[in-house]
Symmetry: none
């Protein structure tokens, strides 16, 4: 292993494309959402709280985005049996709540998106619409 490796990062153009598509999908569903996008180290790239969305869903949407960016898989992959324990051990950052998806393009993990305020299915739907906008 060398000291440095090649990788890729999501530009703000990519982030804005995700945000716009996710908001459009949430509007189409008639379900206002909190949407958060983080980079592969978990630092926030963008977020939006739609009119009528629960403001505390900002926090759960962030946890979903963090979990997906950290693990590289959907939040629902966290086994039921350990959710409480891992949640506690990570200040609530690791969550098994639906609505967190990794952002993966050409096999490279770029970060995560977390959506919260709707039902689990709606949250996943909106997150997926965001990813589709950049072909992820």
């Amino acid at each position: 292993m060398k000291f440095v490796e090649e990788t890729k990062l999501l530009t703000h153009r990519g982030t804005m494309a995700i945000l716009n598509a996710a908001v459009a999908r949430a509007e189409a569903l008639g379900q206002p959402q909190c949407i958060v996008v983080v980079d592969r180290s978990g630092e926030v790239l963008a977020e939006i709280r739609m009119t009528g969305a629960k403001f505390l869903s900002r926090k759960s949407a962030l946890a979903k985005a963090l979990t997906a960016a950290s693990t590289g898989v959907e939040t629902t992959s966290i086994p039921e049996a350990v959710r409480t324990y891992i949640g506690l051990a990570t200040d609530g950052s690791v969550t098994g709540l639906p609505g967190g998806l990794p952002i993966v393009l050409d096999g490279v993990l770029l970060g995560g998106i977390g959506v919260g305020s709707g039902s689990g299915d709606q949250d996943i739907d909106v997150a997926s619409a965001g990813l589709a906008a950049i072909g992820a």
Copy 2:
């Protein structure tokens, strides 16, 4: 005084318009920025960290947005003589750093925008461009 009063709130369409215009202006200036929009209670409505912006400017941009939303005036209005003391007493939420503007429409305070990562003049320029997008 009655128990309840009429007011106005910034919708996510308004927030997105501000964000898009601010990003466009920052791109035109060639200065990547962190841009944060908060509502009149200081809760974050949206934010974006542009590619190449300093990630710690997320924190100062938030402080700028909070200060402007809380006071209803530009951050630079905080008197020099009290900046350190007010900053200490508010966990750093009140700041006199340039780049925080209140969002006021038809005389109603809707929230604040904070911009950071450029020079003070650039931060104010980008924040102003954001507000102009909604006629504020």
Copy 3:
């Protein structure tokens, strides 16, 4: 009881030996890990996040190291029945997740090591390899 007692402390040479051995073992397993070493007061002595490790595992690895250093026994010794309650009462610092081992040499508790990002067995394996490097 006298006012003062003899004790021992882990030097940074000891800490580096643990870290190097743990990293080598994780590489051999092909499982990148977050590894944290704390002293007997729970203050961090060293940590490393290996390339490809989950960044949120830094938090759970810290909790594991803290728990082991505080109790003097392996994290899995925390009874299942109280894990949630103790986790809540300690801000998540006490955890029963596998991968936390006390650092004990010649019967003296020197601190704890916590490893996270792999399976429970892998985490314990890597932590043990770290301890073996100093004969603990």
Copy 4:
């Protein structure tokens, strides 16, 4: 601007090389140090607290590393006139204290190193020795 850009990341081999070289230099100087390495989003990659180093220097070393990674320049580049204000607005994350250097290789910003516990000159010296180990 495309949705994704090429970049590079520091591997744990690179991080360990930095840590080992920095520790060796601090030993040569006879000044124990706290040394922190963060990635380009400010997430900790590694840290070590040497025997005899001030434990609170972990915090200032982290701030130094964060500042250098965020700005891409040495911490001492933060203008004296704004240090208090930017420090307050960023929860102390931005600091002008000497001992924080950006990690730049082939023109790519990979993160930052922060060193604290010695004099300003010693801190810079040890940080520089760390960077030299990977040719940065």
